[in-house]
């Protein structure tokens, strides 16, 4: 008997391609001289492109694969492409960075591909063990990446903290899986849903399972109070890694959150709704308020990414809101998907830009290092300003529509109070985003930040993310349709 159907393979084709290229990079490593490792970076980029291209085959035969363990549908495809985009941008931002800081090793590129692979599985799996494995692959890869500057104590520290806390949280997540298994006798989310719909009792056990999974996932998306690791790790990790870290695993975890709470635990959505509601409130408030004090760019962006997770949680709360119609739910889900895409554009862009501007060894990451930068390097500064405005949610940029859609969904689900708080939060956030703009343009002085011209790779990445930011900011319609399509795949 055949354990594996040909279709199964097509449906995980992007992952296979990624794995293949990851291995290829390692295999070719010994044949590339140490000064030219960047070639491997470009090879990895080709891998990403190939994986992205392979999704077109996958899309021809949508459906579940491997006994329903994974599902190749619009939802997973959306995320796959998102992860590939993030990986691509990260690679573009990394090539020059690694060279500059003397850590240009093949393993880096390979690990990025592997992590992407893990994230793809997280988004595509409909079964908890596969999700767990995907999570572990992406986590372990990123643990390593965070500590990739082996000689840098902060990088080590970030890596270790991320690793220990990540494992700690994973243990909770896994325990949650165990309880789900205990309740339903299966780790398949659809089964769980069916089971919960059939049996009314055992509420406490369900709650425990839900809670434990939320601890694990909340850790990954950095929802309060599980956000605790984020600032240290984002600050300590090499900036391109932070770029990757702040978007990829987070988006993947959100994909899982959507699947777990909207599919698996759909029957107890009133429970998860309040959980997410309060969590959203705390997350965005803490992120924004604490960011007010930060003087390190990477650290304040870390807090900002916490705040953004809060906004996404608002969208999820909208999807879970009691009494929300199916159409509202789909709208909320699609707003979350849209938000993640916009967030990816902004955050990856800004971190890889900072990686470049901070100079060798990331020496200049303090806000004050950018005094007067605006008119010294108009191009780079303008990019940075656009990222800031977009993160702050100023119209004509992606960040605005992202928030707009999320808030629209929230209003449709009658979460008016939460929306108002979210909007006030985004006003607070304007303050610290603009701080960088203020420093760059409105203060007199000589900046410390790197005056080296942007390498071509970074230039491409910037062009791509800026184009994306304005495209989503001006003509978000078609992309939102895509997100809608993906969202409708979630029952």
């Amino acid at each position: 008997m055949n354990f594996v159907q040909p279709n199964d393979l097509v449906r995980v084709l992007p992952e296979i391609v990624l794995a293949g290229f990851a291995i290829l990079v390692m295999v070719l490593d010994p044949f590339v001289s140490s000064g030219r490792k960047s070639t491997l970076g470009w090879l990895a980029l080709v891998g990403v492109a190939a994986a992205a291209y392979s999704t077109s085959w996958t899309s021809l035969s949508p459906g579940t694969a491997f006994n329903g363990n994974v599902s190749a549908d619009e939802f997973s495809m959306y995320f796959t492409l998102l992860f590939l985009f993030v990986a691509g941008l990260t690679l573009l931002g990394s090539v020059h960075y690694l060279e500059r800081d003397g850590i240009n090793h093949a393993e880096y590129y390979s690990l990025v591909l592997m992590a992407t692979l893990g994230m793809c599985f997280m988004a595509a799996s409909t079964e908890l063990i596969m999700i767990f494995l995907g999570l572990e692959i992406s986590s372990i890869s990123t643990y390593i990446l965070a500590g990739f500057k082996r000689s840098n104590a902060q990088s080590n520290e970030a890596s270790l903290k991320y690793f220990l806390l990540g494992s700690f949280a994973t243990a909770f997540f896994l325990y949650g899986i165990a309880f789900v298994y205990g309740i339903s006798g299966s780790t398949n989310l659809t089964d769980l849903n069916v089971h919960l719909a059939r049996s009314t009792g055992w509420a406490s056990m369900t709650s425990v399972a839900l809670l434990l999974m939320f601890v694990g996932l909340g850790f990954k998306v950095s929802a309060v109070p599980f956000q605790i690791w984020t600032p240290d790790v984002y600050q300590g990790a090499p900036a391109p890694v932070t770029a990757f870290l702040s978007v990829g695993p987070k988006a993947a975890a959100f994909a899982v959150v959507l699947r777990v709470f909207l599919v698996g635990f759909a029957g107890v959505s009133s429970l998860s709704f309040w959980l997410i509601w309060i969590s959203a409130l705390l997350t965005m408030s803490l992120g924004n308020l604490a960011a007010l004090w930060q003087s390190n760019v990477k650290r304040f962006l870390a807090y900002s990414s916490i705040a953004h997770a809060g906004y996404v949680l608002v969208g999820i709360a909208a999807a879970l809101a009691p009494g929300a119609l199916n159409i509202t739910r789909a709208e909320a889900t699609s707003s979350v998907l849209f938000y993640l895409a916009a967030y990816a554009l902004m955050n990856v862009g800004v971190f890889i830009l900072i990686a470049h501007l901070a100079g060798p060894g990331e020496r200049y990451t303090n806000v004050d290092d950018f005094v007067g930068f605006g008119f010294e390097r108009p191009g780079a500064a303008a990019c940075l300003a656009v990222f800031m405005f977009s993160l702050a949610g100023i119209p004509t940029m992606a960040g605005f529509f992202a928030k707009f859609y999320v808030f629209r969904a929230a209003i449709h689900s009658n979460l008016i109070g939460l929306t108002i708080i979210a909007l006030l939060n985004s006003v607070v956030s304007v303050y610290y985003y603009l701080r960088l703009v203020v420093v760059m343009y409105m203060r007199e002085g000589k900046s410390e930040a790197s005056h080296v011209d942007m390498p071509a790779s970074l230039g491409i990445a910037m062009a791509a993310s800026l184009f994306g930011i304005f495209y989503l900011g001006l003509l978000p319609g078609s992309f939102l349709d895509l997100a809608n399509l993906a969202a409708n795949r979630l029952p």
Binding site: I394, L423, M442
Partner: protein, 514 residues
């Protein structure tokens, strides 16, 4: 269709933006070329605005020059623009003040002229966009986008405390617009569209199916945003800071146009959309407006800084506008609209003048001056005329609006009219006192002795302004007639909405109480 040519408003709105783009392609050190390009585009926009003014059919109700292009499918957002009398006047005002601001900055902006004019042009596009948008979303978009150039204008080319002022400006405004966004989204939830005209026609029928307090909260959400922009007491404290720190052109645009967006919003959205709530809140708002009038005047009186004085005077003057709007009668509202324009011109002119003075002496402290009428007589004369227009002297522009507002407010409550009239006296107090201290007396400070009087460029700016001031004061009819239908519609909606809510009791609006 009396549209002069296809896509008229689109061209008008985006022409300045095209100017900004053109400027982006000029070398940064070609300052003079940049200035001329900016001037050219802004004058072209002015010409178009005047074209709109003349081809506007004031007898027709509703919006003219309309253009609707679907923009985003879900949610359905369309690029929908159009003009009624109210927008027409404000667009004209924006298009009028921008070239003047450019001229005024001709010699005073030395650093980074490219970015400066670029932002100025972008700002103009944003302003016009706000006034012509007929889609709530589009409106909100322009409303927010416009903050950025202004933020930079204040923050980069401003004075000592520019950063504080710029940040305060943007945060203050954003708090308001955040709530407005909630209101807009709620309206969308209820009506399923952002199209203002559809919302206007459908909303009245929907109120019964909504929670009773919905209208109140929606009104407040919109109103707060506008009240901050106006700014109404007690939301006014961003204004003095922003005005004082902004460069001249920034102050001119800020006072001349940006403040009007608040009152524009009230007329365009708050009153027609939420008539019942508007009436319910009218007493409180009127009282706040009057407090603003008196308070602004009193605080203006003791300001040591001329720009700050003018800023607080704006608080007072805009209080008049709000008072007129919430009188809900023809006189009040037409007066308010007229006052918006005339305040734009006079206060804009005042800021230009203070800016010219600043160019000469690099200070705005009143105590630094004295006796300027002796050393720069021509300048003093222009300053006097503008001062008089600002304090509402008949035959000059300020009078018409203020007088109509007082007449309108008097009908609502005699005390409103009386207190507003007290505000007129106070305006004379602070303006004339300032004028006296700056221009009269002996020249005590030797630095003031040999100041150059105005040059040809400045003279041109001031003559244009004075002509407009006179024209608006002597022959306001062309402007007033163009807002008749708008006013009538607003009033009709307010009264209809009330009648409906109050179970058919008609409320008498306007007209003599014979």
């Amino acid at each position: 269709m009396n549209q002069p040519f296809a896509h008229f408003l689109t061209v008008l709105t985006f022409l300045p933006l095209a100017g900004a783009v053109s400027i982006a392609f000029i070398r940064p050190d070609a300052a003079s070329r940049i200035r001329w390009v900016a001037l050219l585009y802004s004058v072209a926009a002015l010409v178009l605005a005047m074209l709109a003014f003349f081809s506007f059919d004031s007898s027709r109700a509703g919006f003219q020059f309309t253009e609707v292009v679907p923009w985003i499918n879900s949610p359905a957002i369309s690029y929908s623009v159009g003009m009624d009398g109210l927008s027409l006047l404000l667009v004209l005002l924006s298009a009028f003040l921008t070239p003047l601001s450019i001229l005024a900055s001709w010699k005073s902006i030395h650093s980074r002229p490219k970015e400066f004019y670029l932002f100025l042009m972008a700002l103009e596009a944003g302003m016009i966009g706000v006034f012509v948008s007929l889609d709530l979303f589009l409106f909100f978009l322009f409303w927010e986008v416009m903050l950025i150039p202004m933020y930079f204008l204040i923050g980069v080319w401003g004075h000592e405390r520019r950063v504080y002022a710029a940040v305060k400006f943007i945060l203050y405004t954003m708090v308001g617009s955040a709530l407005m966004l909630v209101g807009i989204l709620y309206l969308f939830k209820v009506t399923g569209t952002f199209d203002l005209q559809i919302i206007l026609s459908e909303l009245p029928g929907l109120w019964p199916s909504l929670p009773g307090s919905a209208q109140t909260w929606l009104f407040l959400a919109f109103f707060l945003a506008f009240a901050i922009k106006v700014p109404m007491f007690p939301f006014h404290t961003w204004l003095p800071d922003a005005h004082v720190e902004a460069p001249t052109a920034g102050s001119v645009i800020l006072a001349g146009v940006l403040l009007k967006m608040g009152t524009y919003g009230m007329l365009r959205f708050c009153l027609p959309l939420f008539p019942q709530a508007a009436r319910d809140f009218a007493p409180i708002i009127s009282v706040l407006a009057i407090i603003g009038i008196l308070y602004g005047a009193l605080v203006a009186m003791v300001q040591p800084d001329m720009k700050k004085l003018v800023a607080y005077s704006s608080v007072a003057h805009m209080g008049f506008v709000v008072l007129g709007i919430f009188a809900f009668n023809i006189n009040g509202i037409e007066g308010a609209i007229y006052q918006m324009c005339s305040h734009g011109v006079s206060t804009g002119a005042l800021f230009l003048l203070v800016g010219m003075l600043y160019d000469r002496r690099h200070t705005r402290l009143i105590t630094e001056f004295g006796g300027l009428a002796t050393s720069i007589p021509l300048f003093s004369t222009f300053f006097l005329i503008v001062t008089l227009s600002s304090l509402g002297l008949p035959v000059l522009n300020g009078f018409v609006g203020e007088f109509l507002i007082i007449v309108g407010a008097f009908h609502v409550k005699a005390a409103y009219g009386a207190l507003a009239a007290v505000g007129v006296v106070l305006a004379a107090v602070y303006l004339l006192w300032m004028y006296q201290r700056v221009f009269f007396g002996e020249v005590t400070n030797s630095k003031n002795k040999d100041l150059p009087d105005i040059d040809a460029r400045e003279k041109f700016i001031l003559v244009v302004l004075v002509l407009v001031i006179l024209w608006m004061g002597v022959y306001p009819n062309p402007l007033l007639r163009r807002i008749d239908t708008t006013t009538a519609q607003v009033i009709q909606r307010v009264s209809a909405g009330t009648a409906q809510m109050a179970g058919g009791t008609a409320v008498k609006i306007g007209g003599p109480a014979q």
